[in-house]
């Protein structure tokens, strides 16, 4: 599905990613752990193609195609979809207009919004005055309509109250396990995802297959999500990485 090879990325002339190698096989969900400032969001944004991130070396292969320099919307149209942690406000533009534009018309906007408790927000300007939880639900609403085959989720549980976490978690589950075919199947799942998580909370809702730890712009280790999360929780990132490095 997604393969990243020796990816180097600069932001404003400063190298943030220094040779990332990573793979998300079709039908798999991988999580990405890492301390603050390790390059997690930079990696997701670079995969999506945002302009601020300059790839200086390496490549991104998506569905077997080199998309390293492909415009954002072409990646989206190939089936890539992102949930941002801090999406911009757009004054004057109603959420409804974007949600309708993101879909291909076969899903009912109102119904989809209702399921996310977002129907009252359709006439509101996008993200303007939204709370943390509302931003997450707005992002999920847009993704629901967009129906990507590959999800990039940037800390879906951050800034969400306990009640909303359940709604957000269940929604992510239902999107990932949606049966609408993407051309490949792994058990009962056809979608793939790369999910950033700080707390691991989202693991309660998705059956993740693999985990990566990124630090200093490099993938330090990979393994089973629960094992890695336990290491991080017990020993912190530094120890976890050290110990995994030894094992490697």
């Amino acid at each position: 599905m997604l393969r990243i090879e020796d990816l180097h990325v600069e932001v404003d002339g400063r190298e943030v990613l220094s040779g990332v190698d990573l793979e998300v096989p079709a039908g798999h969900t991988c999580v990405l752990f890492g301390p603050n400032g390790s390059g997690k969001s930079t990696l997701l944004h670079t995969i999506m193609g945002f302009g601020q991130y300059e790839v200086t070396k390496g490549r991104i292969l998506f569905l077997g195609r080199d998309v390293t320099h492909l415009p954002i919307h072409e990646r989206a149209r190939m089936g890539m979809g992102i949930m941002l942690q801090r999406p911009p406000n757009i004054v004057g533009l109603r959420l409804n207009d974007l949600v309708v534009a993101a879909g291909d018309g076969h899903l009912d906007t109102e119904e989809t919004a209702k399921a996310l408790n977002m129907d009252r927000f359709l006439e509101r300007d996008i993200n303007v005055g939204f709370s943390g939880g509302e931003i997450k639900r707005s992002e999920l609403l847009q993704l629901s309509m967009q129906e990507p085959c590959f999800f990039l989720l940037d800390e879906p549980e951050s800034g969400v109250d306990m009640e909303s976490i359940d709604l957000v978690g269940r929604k992510i589950h239902s999107m990932l396990y949606d049966k609408k075919g993407c051309g490949w199947e792994k058990g009962d799942r056809s979608k793939s995802a790369l999910v950033i998580t700080h707390t691991g909370k989202v693991l309660d809702y998705i059956d993740a297959d693999c985990a990566y730890v990124i630090r200093g712009g490099r993938i330090m280790c990979s393994g089973r999500p629960r094992d890695i999360l336990r290491d991080i929780q017990e020993r912190g990132y530094g120890e976890c990485i050290k110990c995994r490095m030894v094992k490697l």
Binding site: M48, F50, G51, Q52, P71, I72, H73, A76, R77, G81, I82, L84, P87, P88, I90, V91, G92, L93, R94, D97, L98, A101, A102, D125, Q142, Q146
Partner: protein, 406 residues
């Protein structure tokens, strides 16, 4: 009430007086447009070309769902019709003849000696439309009027008087345009608007001028107690030089006025739009919202709010996008208060579209042009609630046509 002699004297003395803002026009270079013209029983009988010009500014030849129509070509009323018993719609000069009391309103909200443009309109005996909605009458459909310049190098002068009586309400949609026969002409449109106690008026204007047309409207508005007035000014097409700065006096307690302007300044255009609201009565409220884009022309957004009474509320907001290396944008917001118990605010913002916003929409599958178009459309019309459908359509078409993503 000033007598005719006195008005004439004041006008003559003002003939050389330049306008407060905007490029100065030498009126001697323009002949007055003809005040004679064929008249038409229905709008469907009008020439196909004129029909097209009208339709481009939202005036419907079918007059369907319209309570009345009046079309003014050069300086002649060529059509008038009214379908509402509670409302009168007729040429201003006819109305002046019919009603002696009208001289109490004529040239009151717009002083005849404001500048050379008002003076010229008065001295040329400008005709125009008179609309009166009788007390308590809620007119269901909008009245449509069209001011069309059809002859090159001419002045069009109009004198419109609108009176919405106590508790009455009305919507007006006006389309102002030049036909293909006129470009370097001058529009001098005088409008005096009186909304009496408890009345309400919504006044929407769409413009489609020639690339060299000069436009110098002068508008004065007076509101009574609990009266409300909404003014929507939309100009999306290229124009030579437009300078408009209506003055609205809130004279009755609880009166409320709202001025929305939405403009695009194309290369070579000078668009100078503003408005001022003077709050003379307690508990009155005013809002001025301006959304503009320069694609290479000059764009000036003015706004002035004067708190002349206690317990008033007023807000002024100018936002402008710059979408070209050329061009210039100037925002001039002014607040003036004479009392401590006022709540007056303003915001002004000038800049380009944030790249982050464009990319956000692209991540949902929109290409760059679509993303920019959607943001621009939202910027222009989204923040202004309750715009009539024809204005919304005009903005959508302009955004599509201007190909703003490039």
């Amino acid at each position: 009430m000033p007598d005719g002699q006195a008005l004439r004297r004041r006008a003559e003395e003002a003939l050389k007086r330049k306008g407060a803002f905007g490029r100065d026009y030498d009126l001697d270079e323009f002949e007055p447009g003809s005040s004679e013209g064929d008249t038409y029983e229905t709008l469907e009988d009008i020439t196909p070309e004129q029909k097209q010009t009208m339709m481009n500014v939202g005036v419907l030849p079918s007059a369907e769902e319209r309570s009345g129509s009046l079309v003014y070509v050069d300086n002649a009323v060529v059509h008038q019709s009214s379908a509402d018993q509670g409302m009168e719609l007729l040429p201003t000069l006819d109305a002046m003849e019919r009603y002696d009391w009208l001289s109490d309103y004529s040239w009151r909200a717009v002083p005849v000696d404001k500048d050379k443009y008002t003076a010229r309109a008065y001295l040329e005996g400008a005709n125009g439309y008179f609309i009166r909605v009788k007390a308590g009458r809620k007119v269901e459909f909008p009245v449509q009027t069209c001011m069309m310049i059809d002859t090159e190098k001419r002045t069009q002068h109009t004198h419109n008087i609108i009176i919405v009586e106590e508790g009455a309400s009305l919507d007006i949609i006006t389309g102002c345009a030049t036909s293909s026969h006129a470009n370097e002409s001058l529009h001098l449109g005088m409008s005096e608007i009186y909304v009496l106690d408890g009345g309400s008026l919504s006044f929407s204007m769409i413009h489609n001028w020639g690339e060299k047309t000069g436009v110098r409207p002068r508008t004065g508005v007076e509101l009574g107690k609990e009266a409300s007035f909404v003014n929507n000014y939309v100009i999306m097409k290229p124009a030579g030089s437009v300078q408009s700065y209506p003055t609205c006096q809130l004279n009755g307690e609880g009166a409320a006025a709202k001025f929305n302007s939405i403009a695009i300044s194309h290369p070579g255009s000078e668009i100078d739009l503003g408005s001022q609201v003077i709050m003379n009565a307690p508990h009155s409220a005013a809002e001025i919202l301006s959304r503009s884009i320069t694609l290479g022309g000059e764009m000036i957004a003015r706004g002035r709010l004067v708190g002349n009474a206690p317990d008033i509320r007023a807000h002024l907001e100018c936002r402008s996008l710059i979408m070209s290396e050329e061009g210039r944008t100037l925002a001039i917001p002014e607040l003036e208060a004479m009392y401590p118990d006022v709540e007056m605010t303003h915001e002004a913002a000038v800049g380009k579209i944030a790249r982050e916003q464009v990319e956000y929409l692209m991540a949902r599958g929109l290409d760059e042009d679509e993303a920019v178009g959607m943001i621009v459309r939202g910027f222009l019309e989204g923040s202004i609630r309750g715009l009539p459908e024809s204005l919304r359509q005009e903005i959508d078409d302009a955004v599509s046509m201007a190909n703003l993503g490039n």
